[in-house]
Symmetry: C2
Subunit: 357 residues, 2 copies
Amino acid sequence: MAPSSSPLRSTTSETDEKYANVKWEELGFALTPVDYMYVAKCKQGESFSQGKIVPYGDISISPCSPILNYGQGLFEGLKAYRTEDDRIRIFRPDQNALRMQTGAERLCMTPPSLEHFVEAVKQTVLANKKWVPPPGKGTLYIRPLLIGSGVILGVAPAPEYTFLIYASPVGDYHKVSSGLNLKVDHTSHRAHSGGTGGVKSCTNYSPVVKSLFEAKSAGFSDVLFLDAATGRNIEELTACNIFILKGNIVSTPPTSGTILPGVTRRSISELARDIGYQVEERDVSVDELLEAEEVFCTGTAVVVKAVETVTFHDKKVKYRTGEAALSTKLHSMLTNIQMGVVEDKKGWMVEIDSCQG
Amino acid sequence: MAPSSSPLRSTTSETDEKYANVKWEELGFALTPVDYMYVAKCKQGESFSQGKIVPYGDISISPCSPILNYGQGLFEGLKAYRTEDDRIRIFRPDQNALRMQTGAERLCMTPPSLEHFVEAVKQTVLANKKWVPPPGKGTLYIRPLLIGSGVILGVAPAPEYTFLIYASPVGDYHKVSSGLNLKVDHTSHRAHSGGTGGVKSCTNYSPVVKSLFEAKSAGFSDVLFLDAATGRNIEELTACNIFILKGNIVSTPPTSGTILPGVTRRSISELARDIGYQVEERDVSVDELLEAEEVFCTGTAVVVKAVETVTFHDKKVKYRTGEAALSTKLHSMLTNIQMGVVEDKKGWMVEIDSCQG
């Protein structure tokens, strides 16, 4: 299980200091509360007007709201990075904005505009800039939520929507250094055709907790789900996409409605093509997975992570990891862009204005 | 769409009055806020201790809670009835308690015990007894929630659970008098094998809002979903179970994980057997549905409701409704027990103590 709220935050005053009083070396993927969050509201049938930065803390919500009763909620995840020359930048926020719009359409919600989303993320980061870790120590994880608020008793779209962004400095998502040990779940599925597997709906996550919990209890890092239609093709983990490598071909399941169109997935596909690999988005069978030379996962939280072993029924397969692995190279290529070690020729990084410490 | 919060509640003081100031004739299935709700909390790994009755109102919750981010929530629905001789009773609350336990196991949550659940429901009704409508004017709908509260950033079981019960006087769920006009959804599904369709998880509801919204916009009352595995068998509506009648045989889909084991569904099956019908729980194909003599739905909110028409692609089939219909008879049998018109020989009704007005 991921650790819960961490006690890393200091309570001393630090108003004018460049950094919050955080033990940066101890960061994992747990919440360290920051100073501020962003909140905007909108009535059904209207558009979001600008929200505001408010002190981070609990929100007030009706017991009779669609998010509490009917799971009408979407989330996003992106990160802010501090470069060696002390610029603070975020990675492809437009992609998260667009994905939230797709999800909102699926769940009959009103989303913020792309411009509003990006501006709100910027404001959230700027307000919490002292919580963006020093270079190499981690990132500021940003979590936008769009939830059905207001009051409605029957199953129907919400009368009000709340767009909220909170953040937390984070370190690595997985504690393992070498690679993940995955268990293929051949009994339960993550998504089905016509469902919500292709959008970042809250409804995709609590249903997989049990499978994840059981796998972790048995010593695995995460679970790999198979498609519900045939049970033969791989889909994704509980919270990240998967790729396999054989020869010069990198393959990953297609975004046909049951897997999340990951921003890191898309970026890594592009980077792999840049260095001469053929990238195929297509159905990938378990058989192919078991015969791959290399397997790796991508996601905002996990970045790029090698898979060391996959266990399917009684069969356990080991894959290449470490310095010679493509995943290691792709991880470096991506994080070098994100951290400003190399020039961002793709226009992926968005600068936060006025953020010099 | 179901109407949102209704303005039926009076603001005048009514402390010692038998009834709240509600326009009972105008009740639909919308929230009329009552005086009190019940709240209990429990840490992960511990058991629920008794909660308390508090004034009804918004709750305070972390933006980083599993219910807001990952859909870790269950709900229940049951009703309190006022009899002609002014007793207030609830219908089979033990069944809802047991279903919440099954759901909690599926979503890795800690549920209240059966005894705690039933006692909390009783306390909630007793505290709000003036909101239980007069006989024949409606019921007090009771909505227990079990939600993942506390703070956790990654996908994992919640560090804290909140068990909350709110209530509202309600009238009919559907406004139509004769019968429902259903559209068979042949493109999206409600549930899949290994998913959460068999428990009352919040994650089953927001994904069907779009299909429901589109059907209502086209003049239908509700949507009937087909199974995701074959697309050939009927499953349930957005929020109630379905039965078909042909000859002396009443058939309803089995509770094999993708449909909700409805309390009303189970009760109606028993009542149908009592009057000589053969009740079969088995796969029911769309073909059989289209050839049925009668179709009806069951649920706590909807009670028993005849289906007048079903539309599948371009085919529209009409069924028997009205006085001659079995659904009318079963509706009477059930509501007569619930309202105390006939003796409850089954032990289904639970009396609320000290509730004489």
